[in-house]
Symmetry: C2
Subunit: 107 residues, 2 copies
């Protein structure tokens, strides 16, 4: 079965926990792109974009492949599913807790 590691999950959520990184993800949803192409609409340096991409790569959310003189970045669909599964697990536990509470309170 699937057992999400809390530390890995934390890193994954942290990777999504930044405004600019979320915008990068949204941009990557439209398809793979190079660094300069990704930073087009942004008001940050190319280096900042690079840093964000590496943070996300470290968490496994994104991967890169060298292609000639530019590096192509794309989303890692599996990791996104990991996050969703982790949230589902939390939600389920929470629902169970609520159910137990209702039983106790007997309202």
């Amino acid at each position: 079965m699937f057992a999400p590691h809390p530390l890995d999950s934390a890193r994954l959520f942290a990777a999504l926990g930044d405004r600019n990184r979320l915008r990068l993800v949204a941009r990557l949803c439209k398809g793979p792109a190079s660094i300069t192409a990704l930073g087009e609409g942004f008001h940050i340096t190319r280096q900042a974009v690079t840093k964000h991409l590496r943070v996300m790569r470290k968490s496994g959310l994104v991967r890169s492949t060298r292609r000639g003189r530019h590096t192509i970045w794309q989303l890692n669909e599996h990791r996104l599913q990991d996050v969703r599964r982790y949230l589902d697990l939390i939600s389920k536990q929470w629902d169970d807790a609520l159910a137990r509470l209702r039983t106790f309170v007997e309202r």
Copy 2:
């Protein structure tokens, strides 16, 4: 319809993007609890726990109610669903992008 704001979402993910906060969430899944009860198994100060809880409250992930001399904290199921919905939206866009890519590549 539901339109998740990227900035709000970022704050929400950031709230989950910390090892100790994730452990707090896991603990809160078992039911509401007070601050000292929450920090029981942790190796951090009560004040640190308080700070984490407030970060999560600011993102709407958790809420608190004063009850006598202790404050009871519990999860906010609605916000959890918000995160899940946002991820679903991202995943869907990503799936669409993949579909488009397959059409282009014509493999």
